[in-house]
Symmetry: C2
Subunit: 335 residues, 2 copies
Amino acid sequence: MVTINEVAKAAGVSISTVSYALSGKRSISATTRERIDRAIRDLGYTPHAAARILAGAQTNILALSAPLHADGHFPTHMRFVTAVVEAAREREYDVLLLARDDEVTGIRRVAGTSLVDGVVAMGVSQRDDRVPLVRSLGIAVAFIGVPDDADGVACVDLDFRGTARDALERVAAQGHRTVGMIGHPRGYVDRRQGFIARFDDGLERAAAERGVRLVREWAELSRGSGARAVDALLDVDEPPTAIVFHCNEPVVEEAERRLRERGVRVPQDVSLLAAAASYEPDRLEIPLSGVTLPIERMCRIAVEAALDQREGRGETATRLLDPDFVDRGSIAPVS
Amino acid sequence: MVTINEVAKAAGVSISTVSYALSGKRSISATTRERIDRAIRDLGYTPHAAARILAGAQTNILALSAPLHADGHFPTHMRFVTAVVEAAREREYDVLLLARDDEVTGIRRVAGTSLVDGVVAMGVSQRDDRVPLVRSLGIAVAFIGVPDDADGVACVDLDFRGTARDALERVAAQGHRTVGMIGHPRGYVDRRQGFIARFDDGLERAAAERGVRLVREWAELSRGSGARAVDALLDVDEPPTAIVFHCNEPVVEEAERRLRERGVRVPQDVSLLAAAASYEPDRLEIPLSGVTLPIERMCRIAVEAALDQREGRGETATRLLDPDFVDRGSIAPVS
DNA sequence: TTGAAAGCGATACCAA
DNA sequence: TTGGTATCGCTTTCAA
C-alpha cells in the first residue's frame, strides 16, 4: 500500500502539503502541485478510506435500508435501489445496502459504528419502526414514503392523494359516473403501506365530491387475479365506464388481455387510467394515460435530503411531489 | 460519540483491556468483564468502524459489482443482489453496492482506498474488463459467471453445458427426435454472455450425439416475442415434439399462453422443459419440469470464495454446479 | 506558500 | 490477568 507519507517523500514536501493538494483546501504553488501530482501518478497512490474517515469528518457512505417483503414487486424495488445508487454517486457517495437485516438492527449497526453519513429508507410502512429509531439515533435520514408519524424526519413521496383526486377528476370530466379501480394486493394494505391508504382516501373523497360511484377491486400478484378483477368489475348490472389502475404491471397486463378477450375496446367502451405507475405505461399492449411514479426523482431528492441534513441546511419535512399526467389516448368521453 | 476511552474510564480499566474484552482475544477476569459490560451498556458504546479498520486488518465490507444492463431482467438481478447481501451478512459482512459506475472504476475506487475486503462480481461477460483489473489489483474476488479467461480467479456458475446436455438427453430418452428451443434475447448473446454460448454448445453437441434435430428461436423480453417464438417453432412441416426453454419468465408465460390458445396440450402434444430457470417453474400456469438456477447457492459460494481468499485458504478455480432436475410432469414420451 | 505535530479511535505488542 | 503505548494513514491547527 502506498501512503501519503511515501508520496510526500517522493515529492519532497510534507504530508500536510500533499493532503492540501488533494483536498484543495489551501493554495499550492504550481511547481509543488506538479511534483505532487507526478509522485501520486508514479506511485499509484489512493488515499486510505478508513484513515480519511477517521481523521476527517465524513465517510462518504450512505446506507440504503431496503427491506424486501416476500410479496413485494422485485422490478420496482430494483429500480429504487438503482436510482438511489445513481443519485448517491453523483454526490461522490457509495451505497451500503441493508436488505436482509431486520430493519432496525442494520441501521443501528451502521449508524452506531459511524460507518455511514446518513440513511435512505425505502419500503416505508405507516407505523415504521425505523422512524423512532433514527429519531433517537439523531442521524441524517430520508424516507422514501411517508409514515404516519413523520415529525422531524425528511420524507419524499408522490402525492398519492392528489394523484387519486386528479385521476378521478379527469375521468369525471369526461362524463364517467361509475368508475372502477383495480388496486394493489390486499397484503400491501394489511402491511399498512401508507400510500395505498392515501390513494384510496383521495379517490373516495374526490368521487364523493363529484357524485361519482366508485367500484373497487384488489388484485394479487398471482396469475389470474388481474383477469378476475376485470370480470368482477364488468360482470354486474351497471359496470364502470372507466377504470383506474393502481397496481403493478403484471396485473395491468393481464387486465388488458382480459379486456381484449372480452372484446372491450379502449377507450370506446371503457376508459383506462394508470395511477402512480411503477412501470412504463406507454410500453403496455394498450398504452395508458396517467401518472408515472417518478422513482428517479424521488430517490434523488431523498439522497440529497439525507446528505444535506449533515450540513445543517437539510429539510426535515415531508415533500410530496405533484402528479404529472401524460395523455396516451386511453381516456375518452363516456358514450 | 462514546469512545473506548470513556468506557475504559467508566469501568476503571485500561483501553487495551476493553479492547480485549470486546474481541475475546485474551482472557479477562469475570469481575473485570462485568464492569466493562456494564460500562458499555450504560454508555451505549459501539466501536467506531473506521478506527477499527485502520488499526485492525479488515473492513468487514464486501463490494458487489452489479452492472445493470438496460435489457437485463430486473427480478433476476434483484434476486442475486439480495442473495449476496444475505450470504455476506451471515459472515458478518456488509455489502457496498456498485451499480451505476462503469464496472472498472467502481472496483478500482473501493479497492484502491481499501474500503472493502473483497469483491463479488455478477453480470459477467465472456471478455470482462473486470478480470484483468482484479488480477492486476490482486484483490480477493469471486465472479458469478465464467469469463473466457478465468485463470487465477474464483468463479461460480451453474454448469450450463451439463444442464443443456441433461435437458436434451431427458427428452431424447422419451423418444423425441425433433426438439425446439426458445432462448434468451439475442442482445444477451451479442453482449457475449458466456452462459448462453455454453448452453447452446451443450445442447448442440448432445443433439448431434443423439441424432436429434434441433430447432432454435430467440425471444426478446418485449411483449409478443414469446408467442411469436412458439408460432415460429410450430408453424412448420415437422414441428418439434418437445421444447426446451432457456429464457426469462415473461417469455415462458407468454409461450404457455400461446400454446393454450393454439390448443396444444402439455405434455400430450408437446413436452416442455425449463432449463436454468431464474424463476420458479412450479408457479407457472403449466408447471415445468427442469432445472432451476440455484441463485442463493451460487451467491453463497461466491461470497465465501471471495472472503476465504483473504485468509489464504481460498480457491481461485472455477466451480460449476451440477444441474438439479425436478420432475413436474411436463415431459412425456413422444406419441 | 509550506511544515511540524496533535489528534481521530481503535488494535495489539511488550511489559509487568 | 492487566496496563502502557506505538501504530494504522490521514486531516487540520498552529507556526513559520
